[in-house]
Symmetry: C2
Subunit: 228 residues, 2 copies
């Protein structure tokens, strides 16, 4: 939490640093709702309307938005365009954050060619692989380099996000190298859970964990069906 709620005297970055993770998770959802409204030509939105679009309650919307600043107008609501600007700014202002993909197999190649990352502001700036036969090839305009050069590649390209697209057995090693090279975020597509040092600020998204959780819900549902 910020020591002060007087955002008028805080820098935008100080505001950003003070956001609870739970709030950060919801901001993109609000953002999408605002985009929808903007496309429809709507210029003002109440917390109640935005809550319905985001699937949360109005109190949460107001609380979340209040951390960004007092950008609403009592009795009226929020200006759609202005709120989009503010959320976009806090979430990283669309400054592209280049990513490095580790593993140029089927998945790695597909992810490299997938324009979704670039569209989300995460252009693929580097690809590495352990197979010397693949090193030197170009994929989607990027030349594959050897995984042993990962540290150097990360420094050269300024990548701060690593995407693991290796086989399960190589995933933890790739993570360790990425961490050593200084990336701050890791998206792990390998079918295994990997661990990162209990460092400050390193954010990891583990597809295997997510799948396990989905599996749990599946299982629970089956159980509910069986017992209820």
């Amino acid at each position: 939490m910020a020591a002060s709620k007087d955002h008028g005297s805080d820098t935008p970055d100080a505001v950003a640093a003070s956001l609870a993770e739970a709030t950060v998770v919801r901001l993109p959802v609000y953002f999408r709702g605002l985009v929808e409204l903007a496309e429809e030509g709507v210029t003002t939105v109440s917390s109640q309307q935005l809550a319905e679009l985001a699937g949360v309650n109005a109190a949460k919307v107001r609380k979340d938005l209040s951390y960004l600043g007092s950008y609403g107008t009592r009795g009226v609501g929020y200006d759609v365009g202005f709120l989009m600007q503010q959320i976009g700014r806090v979430l990283g202002g669309n400054e592209p954050a280049p990513v490095v993909i580790v593993g140029a197999g089927n998945l790695g190649k597909a992810l490299s060619r997938y324009d979704g990352f670039g569209a989300s502001g995460f252009p693929v700036a580097a690809i590495v692989d352990a197979d010397p036969g693949v090193v030197g090839r170009r994929i989607a305009g990027v030349t594959v380099r050897h995984v042993d050069d990962l540290h150097r590649v990360v420094k050269e390209t300024g990548c701060q996000v690593g995407i693991i697209a290796t086989p399960a057995a190589a995933a933890q090693g790739a993570v360790d190298r990425l961490v050593a090279a200084g990336v701050r975020s890791i998206l792990n597509f390998a079918p295994t859970v990997v661990t990162v040092p209990d460092d400050v600020g390193l954010r990891k998204v583990d597809l295997a964990t997510e799948l396990h959780i989905l599996g749990y819900y599946e299982h629970r549902r089956g159980a509910a069906r069986a017992t209820g």
Copy 2:
């Protein structure tokens, strides 16, 4: 929470249903630590050791494991193999949960061929696409069907997990169809945040949201560097 903590009289499924989401998220991480120990031939582990492997504290490990039942031995620790069995059982017992992939473009094809899903217990049982020119082709042994048949495909294959690999513009439509068809979990790879009805139990993982969060941490880190 379960009304009772007497797991001896609860069915395994009733135990599973009572787990807090925060605990469910950590179980696969413990599981990986246990796999590591088992590979090294270790047969007993203390909450402290497991905590270090998982990057959490020992109290949390004991609390989490206590929801599964009293499977430890005071003064000794936990049996590695037995604990793996218990966690595996609660998380869904390795029963495969077939998935349907929506979108047979570059990403959809790569995900279809990617054996990581199958390895994690999520075999790809169906693929659908909107392009009639793609319908009928076989990808990794699965024949592509038309997205208009999604409801029927889901019913036929028993898929309960949907993976969105469409362009951003088609993602929300795909989600709506999946929800209508009755899937209970959605993994969205499209570069946009999608919303689902505020239904009971539908679990959604949004890669765009995850990327936004990663972006936030990047941004925050840059801000810290700039101001600190």
